[in-house]
Amino acid sequence: MCGIVGVYLKTKKFEKDLGKILSGMLNNMESRGPDSAGFAIYNNENEQNYKYSLCINKLNFDDFKKEINGKIKKPTFNLLSDHVILKTEDEPKKVIKIINSEFPNVSLVGYGKSIEIFKQVGNPKDVVKKFKLETFSGSHGIGHTRMATESAITTDGSHPYSTGEDECLVHNGSLSNHNNLRRELKKKGNIFNSENDTEVAAGYVSNSLLNNKSLKDTLISGLKDLDGFYTFITGTRKGFAVVRDEIACKPAVIAETDDYVSIASEFQAMSHLPRVNSAKIFEPEPGIVYSWGN
């Protein structure tokens, strides 16, 4: 069992409240996933710079700042708990190389021009508070509360998984062919940082998007290639999609109004959303890809 949530804003009306909406949803999904939690927020304010979401673990922030300052062009930092959002003009190729080779205690959680990702072990309510999710604004966001099954309770094992620029994926379920698929994707150049099945699904999506497939087509071919139980929510810079496997054992419910579309494992996660009682509420059908944005 895990809890997944997501909100995509169709208008600008609730952009300032996105963090508040998402934190309420994560708090309500505590019962489905008390082990760890995480979220990704998309905010398109500053598109020239790249944002790198880094988990510095036990490293001292000032030491990290001092050490990376000379290596990266005009960096700015925003520290939240053990995560740092590093902004710079520098391209991902360079920054990722520096982090991987010179900062063994720092892990890259995600990067892109729009996305910021935070995830941590612990009760969702505490995680949400530590990262001050309520203060975030943005255009869309995705979150996850984890009840660990197939791999350990670690920050690396927490969702969302981001394996490409401005991409992320959360998952409720389990994949049975992830080891094989991981091997195949590694041959194609994908890099994986954990033994987690969901990271493989995220890598599968990234690989397909790199080959210029649309998010919708990617998820349609995923129905054939990904074996197991799942409800996925995936995010890209301007898009948002939901898919359930054909057996559809893993729950999902969507609420749509003129201003937003939201999805959660259970309706109770959405009960605080603005005017939700007059929203169009439906369950995504098995094996059908639902997408919004580009």
């Binding site: 559809a248 729950p251 109770q268 009960s271 059908e285």
Partner: protein, 227 residues
């Protein structure tokens, strides 16, 4: 009496309804702000009328006996699961496994029900005004599943003696489920259920009946090599 889930917690409300104060003999309740709570009104045993104003979570009205529960919204997984008697009426849509394993009573769903509606039902009558999802009536044993809309894949897979009536299209039939003849006896019975669910605009004659071919009942010597 009005019960507010913002003021009272779920357990307090369920306990109150499960242990009615006989001296007061209050039998009409309205529950407000359900906000998707799970197991609301589960395990009730007495005659009473309950109206729930809003959407409920999993297992609403589970194990119900005698109570008459109306949900003015959508219901999550397993609404009226294992119901013994009484009535559960969902005004919106129902999620998967509606009426699962239920022995008796009547479940009415005004909207659609998703997959596995009536899975392993053992005597309940289910009337769905919309459509049902895949694997509905799976391994169902007795009772009636009546669907005014369409049915998804593998309808009635491995069923026993449930009668399934579908008005719309059936995407596919499950193993051992076949279409059966509708005779006067079935039409009469169906009319009774449609009336109970307040459905006046659909004729019982327009439904098709499905049931077990009874080929999976007994071991067949021809299949010996499979074991």
């Amino acid at each position: 009496m009005e019960l507010d889930l913002k003021k009272l917690n779920l357990r307090a409300i369920n306990e109150k309804l499960q242990n009615l104060d006989r001296k007061k003999n209050e039998r009409d309740f309205k529950i407000i702000n359900p906000e998707g709570s799970h197991a609301l009104c589960a395990g009730l045993t007495e005659n009473m009328n309950i109206s729930i104003k809003g959407h409920v979570g999993y297992y609403c009205g589970g194990m119900n006996q005698n109570a008459n529960i109306t949900i003015e919204g959508n219901a999550g997984t397993g609404v009226a699961e294992n119901m013994m008697s009484g009535k559960v009426h969902v005004k919106g849509n129902a999620s998967q496994s509606a009426g699962a394993t239920a022995h008796g009573g009547l479940l009415i769903i005004e909207g659609d029900a998703s997959s596995r509606c009536g899975i392993s039902m053992k005597g309940i009558d289910i009337v769905v005004k919309g459509s049902v999802g895949h694997m509905s009536g799976f391994m169902s044993q007795s009772g009636n599943l009546i669907v005014c809309g369409d049915a998804g894949e593998a309808l009635g897979d491995s069923l026993y003696e449930t009668n399934i009536y579908i008005k719309g299209k059936v995407k596919s039939l499950g193993a051992d489920c076949v279409e059966k003849k509708m005779d006067k006896k079935h039409i009469k019975k169906l009319k009774k259920y449609l009336k109970e669910a307040n459905i006046n605009n659909i004729k019982a004659e327009n439904f098709k009946r499905y049931g077990s071919a009874r080929k999976l009942y007994n071991f067949k010597i021809d299949n010996l090599s499979s074991y």
